[in-house]
């Protein structure tokens, strides 16, 4: 990337701090609460509906050395038929400056509810995915990524 030397020195310092924080963090329960900004972003997209656990799997590297480009795959258990399929998957990064990451709009023509992209994470955090099913039910999954050098513009 075409960043300046001064910036890369600063990000290296942040990276060291991030690594120390990562080591001291205890594993969180799946039901752990989210940051207020993430809660607000979720509410804006899906309202106050009940979120069920399960069916949503996030595939992410457990440790990312470079927060600028982290591979993400989301898989949702669904037959993907006309009568029973995943309509939308919203992805949020709980501790990014802006939690919204992407919304994927799926159709039964896909045959399988699986999408991939590459994302930026500013620091060690949980990535959250919420799937909206064709019957209106919602399922949530989350996965932590330890980031040693953050993305999001340094």
């Amino acid at each position: 990337m075409n960043r300046t030397v001064a910036l890369s020195r600063r990000t290296a310092l942040f990276g060291t701090a991030g690594a120390v924080v990562a080591i001291t963090l205890a594993p969180k329960p799946a039901s752990a609460s989210l940051q207020p900004a993430t809660e607000a972003a979720i509410k804006k997209l899906i309202g106050d509906k009940k979120l069920n656990e399960g069916r949503v799997t996030l595939r992410l590297p457990p440790i990312a050395e470079n927060g600028n480009t982290i591979p993400l795959t989301v898989v949702v258990e669904s037959p993907m038929t006309a009568g029973d399929h995943v309509k939308t998957v919203h992805v949020f990064a709980d501790r990014n400056p802006t939690p919204d990451v992407a919304s994927f709009h799926l159709t039964p023509a896909m045959g399988r509810a699986e999408v991939s992209t590459r994302i930026r994470l500013g620091q060690t955090q949980d990535v959250v995915a919420i799937a909206e099913m064709s019957d209106g039910s919602l399922f949530i999954g989350r996965q932590e990524v330890k980031v040693t050098i953050g993305g999001c513009g340094g």
């Binding site: 990337m1 300046t4 600028n68 480009t69 982290i70 993907m80 990064a93 990014n96 400056p97 802006t98 919204d100 990451v101 992407a102 919304s103 994927f104 709009h105 799926l106 159709t107 023509a109 896909m110 045959g111 399988r112 509810a113 699986e114 999408v115 991939s116 992209t117 590459r118 994302i119 930026r120 994470l121 993305g151 999001c152 513009g153 340094g154």
Partner: protein, 110 residues
Amino acid sequence: MAAPIGQPRVRLPSGVKAGDIVEIRTLISHPMETGTRRDSSGNLVPRDIIKTFIATFDGQEVFRMDLHPAISANPYIAFAFKAEKTGTFEFTWINDAGTRATSRSELRVG
């Protein structure tokens, strides 16, 4: 001063049989400027991202994505697709300014 939308790169799988679920992979070159980064003179670089991606097969929408600045530069987007018959994929990327890039490829199903 939006960055030009780059050249899309799409490679569809070959040797596909009817009923196979395949992965459709796409890539386009674009800086995905977050709007929070500063240039070498300390000025904020204005936000400029690809915010929508649409994939259609024989004119029917099969997949769409809304992108935010947290998507990496040169966005890679892949999705599953159940191949039933030979047809044409059309991929469209749209940036903040509303400029579109389009790519068409035939998926051959044997």
